[in-house]
Symmetry: C2
Subunit: 696 residues, 2 copies
Amino acid sequence: MATTSKATWIWYPGDYEIWLGNKMNNRRTERGAFFPPFWKTDSHFVTVEFSTVVELAEAEEVTIAAEGIFNIKLDGKLQFGMPEKFLLPAGKHNLNIKVWNQATPPALYVEGKTVYTDASWRVTFEDKEWIDESGKASDTSATIYMQAGAWNFGREERPSLYKLCREALPAVAVTEADGGKLYDFGRETFGYLVLEGVEGDGEVAVYYGESPEEAQDKAFCETLDRIRFEATTITDLATGKAVERTARYVFDNSKALRYVYVECEGATPAGVSLEYEYAPVTYRGSFKSNDEELNRIWEIGAYTMHLTTREFFIDGIKRDRWVWSGDAVQSYLMNYYLFFDSECVKRTTWLLRGKDPVTAHTNTIMDYTFYWFIGIYDYYMYTGDRAFVKQIYPRMQTMMEYVLGRTNSRGMVEGMTGDWVFVDWADGYLDKKGELAIEQVLLCKSLETMALCAALAEVEEDIPTYEKLAAELRAKLLPTFWNEAKQAMVHNCVEGEQSEAVTRYANMFATFFGYLSEEQQQQIKHSVLLNDEILKITTPYMRFYELEALCVLGEQEAVMGEMKDYWGGMLREGATSFWEKYNPTESGTQHLAMYGRPYGKSLCHAWGASPIYLLGRYYLGVKPTKAGYASYEVRPTLGGLEWMEGTIPTPNGEIRVKMDKQSISVYATEGEGVLHLPTGGDPIRIECGKELTINY
Amino acid sequence: MATTSKATWIWYPGDYEIWLGNKMNNRRTERGAFFPPFWKTDSHFVTVEFSTVVELAEAEEVTIAAEGIFNIKLDGKLQFGMPEKFLLPAGKHNLNIKVWNQATPPALYVEGKTVYTDASWRVTFEDKEWIDESGKASDTSATIYMQAGAWNFGREERPSLYKLCREALPAVAVTEADGGKLYDFGRETFGYLVLEGVEGDGEVAVYYGESPEEAQDKAFCETLDRIRFEATTITDLATGKAVERTARYVFDNSKALRYVYVECEGATPAGVSLEYEYAPVTYRGSFKSNDEELNRIWEIGAYTMHLTTREFFIDGIKRDRWVWSGDAVQSYLMNYYLFFDSECVKRTTWLLRGKDPVTAHTNTIMDYTFYWFIGIYDYYMYTGDRAFVKQIYPRMQTMMEYVLGRTNSRGMVEGMTGDWVFVDWADGYLDKKGELAIEQVLLCKSLETMALCAALAEVEEDIPTYEKLAAELRAKLLPTFWNEAKQAMVHNCVEGEQSEAVTRYANMFATFFGYLSEEQQQQIKHSVLLNDEILKITTPYMRFYELEALCVLGEQEAVMGEMKDYWGGMLREGATSFWEKYNPTESGTQHLAMYGRPYGKSLCHAWGASPIYLLGRYYLGVKPTKAGYASYEVRPTLGGLEWMEGTIPTPNGEIRVKMDKQSISVYATEGEGVLHLPTGGDPIRIECGKELTINY
């Protein structure tokens, strides 16, 4: 995606992301059936006006390319046709280009010596520029303009043709089994299967598996392909799409797999391989320690993140391959400690939000709506990208309007028909009725986020509104849910009555959101977080927050044990990427089942990679204290390790931390940093570009 | 579009109409530049679920075709691939088919012996059918389902390929002029220019004109084409599109014209002709009288309507070719007395509304929003199609929410930035500031319409809300705008103060909406409608309502004079279709100019055809009194004619009326009718299927 010119393709912000996201979400298949999401799929504005004001010392020729039919207006005057070259006269001029495209997002590329398309161009989907009887144009001051959306696509990189990278990947082992062949690619991977040198006419059936059991279970494996070779054609039997027969056939749709079981009838391939598909991210974060198992956990976490960081942050590579807000907000946090791919965060945020009107919660899930809000302020804190907050803020407003339109007389949210109150996959009963404490905690944080983002977006009138709503709700949280006898927040209230149940969820979020007093924090640590009587969490998803809460409470040693136990447990089960769910009490093929299906579980799930975040933020101990690491703190904790070292990426550089039982070194390329020693005392200033080493 | 099967293509209601409308609106060009609308262009839902419940005595094979990628769920279970044939087992089953298509609206065609797609299928853009951990599906009772949209497309008639009819049309005269050739097609017409037998390589330039002056004015004609012939290719120089060179070249985009001026450089066509394009409507209404000029006015009106009745009712065929609400609501009314093409009314209504969220008035024009509401109840009254009101009602709600969000403290609308307060093109100053009387009158009627449609859509809770809002506003109309000294409603109030201006607009609408007392009606007849001191109306658009008001007041004789004067005046100027604007005091090429451009005026404008409506409704005197002509009245008036006869179409039949100075005959094929004699007395019952003749 590199370009030597400053020019880049531009579009209506969010629209390309939504369009590309539809392509991605809709690549899901289930046993040969197309499987799109069950929520509203939005689309792009089909007619978009791009404009800029140019000031030229001399006339300048620009080249113009568009995805769509377009016109050019110079100082309000329409120009003939759709020229590839256009001469801008010297002087100050308004340049407006309108593009129409139903199938893919209207996009524009203009390149000249000084005039070129970039995010500084304005865009609108309705310029409201009518003319009156005399030919006079209307006042367009009420037209809402946004800054153009852009990645860094060069002239030849038409946005609608965007593809991830591919690389050939051979199988590492082949075994004959049951009349077919089982190919093992060595570890969890992703891509397009390739059949080479197919001899004869007939059908080839391919069964994919994250496990050998799945690949060889023709009746229950989650994904499969069937294909027919005839004299001159190759036909995909699921889509009906036929292509000319060639010696090398690459399947149309990508799949997750470690194993492939191939059965042939008449047509036999000489070779089976994979075109591995991946996002070209850089591993900017790193972690090493004296504990080899922990290092392996970090590496497998990083690989899990790489597989699930694609055009967007997806949940898992096998089953949904959809973008889910609850999963994404964790991917964002892990990403800040690994790839620092800001573009992928922005893309995912646009896609998750979709467009107005709001007709459901994000992914239909109430809690996921709240994570969506929270992720935006996280993004701002890590990247300092205020421009993005400004662009997305109007959609935050309409999303919050939707939420507030569904609060009850106490200003709290309860699941209404059509709302999915998810919280977590739990191995036990999780009551979803009435006011769930966790949902109110998340709503409260979302309202605080709205107030902060209103300030960043300079929508002054919104700030007191959201501050007031947040304060009112926060004032109700503990009176409503805290139970002194249980020394914990209860799980929910139904019709104003506290239930008897205590779960970990609200308690852990309230901890790291700082909603509890020091005393209450210590109480819930023992009454809930470290209490085995309380319903155990069996998803890495909620373990993320559970362990984060314990880290906030200074329990890094306990968390280290949990990590080695839980993620180490998956490694000992042979995991080559981390799973959607892991219950250490299960064994064998029990680990593969979920959703009532024997291989329903995803064995490569982004939310499985949380040690990436925990190790960076709570062991190496680095976090921004002002947006974009303008200032930051380093608060390293060995948590039982002998030594550790690692790198934390920052917007334009990195922070390196090294610690053993005697000393700590920190080196940073940007930002105002302070080092907090585990032994306490005043924080020590970290000078930019100079290694700081302290014996403690 | 005929099909022998009962099966038809289905889609999300309104979505196909909006998509097709974009294609149509975006065919506008201005001197070789693409010229899309300046309002928000909406798009279709890209993923749509279609469903039905089947009950089969025996298994049944259906064929399935879709525009898009699709899946099939039988009783909740996904099926393999996208089969063309599918066997439904005997018994009761849920059949769900989900289709995804970004470029064109997802559409579905299923055909079996007893199972087939039609408007009885349900559709949704979000089924919210998630599954929990155990595989159990969610409760989808909050999902909003609509009835499928459909026309009557047979299996081979894929909706995305829909085209109007074409017919070869030769020029009637060719003259050499100025180095080029001027072709005359005899009358205003529309279609695709054809160049035949082009010899040599080089450019051909085509200048279109509704008048010979326009066609020959290369610098100022409104539309033109430039094309280059090379050895093996033909290139359209506006779009850059190149095709293989053939002996017969048909231009891509249609144009309005009577004349074409063709200049060649190097490449010379042997023949120039037209592929006339038209909608295959039936002339179900008719009118004849002793007055040949009046008959000619009706015929030219009908032809004007035919040219502007296309995929949708458009304003005029030359310039915009856009769908405008103010124009459309008049086309609807004329249509009920001519083609009775209900489908075109529904399509146009969907397109004009577009989708949520509402970001501007219809076509950005405040008054056009109100006409949109009013047109829906008109449609119901003429057709009796309550199902359509039910389908469109949710969009009426959100449109009215937008309007009510822009009312002032007195519950009235004033133009805000970004609102186009249009009213009319006037040859004189028309104040658009403050509360315009006409806008409040239209808003009041719109609120009344909302209450009536809420009842039809069975949204009971809305009825009292809108009734109250309508009653409150209506109670304010006369106190606010009536001026006893002027014996009229004034044009506007600015900051609570009546202005001095009186215009015809509010007064004429208040008359036929029945908002004035008998006495006030008689007052405004003399003080406004028949008063030459009041700013004259110079568009057929507002003459429509002006003459309607006079007809309601029994002034058919005066109106007959006006029609012969005004529409007769256009005929005497050589019109072969009626114009966008006509000022009898202008002459020569003055008639061609508008919008500050010498040929800016459209010489074929739907709103020019109002005699079609006036003659049917106020002379033949037929109108429905219950929805869909379940009951109707005939109140014929010669208005100065010797005799007249005509046919009025009804949903499933027609009403024929014949009248001279002695007798009246009426024959009707459906409905409960009554005849009101011009001499007064009790109405006489019209028996269905039996000619009633009365000497009066």
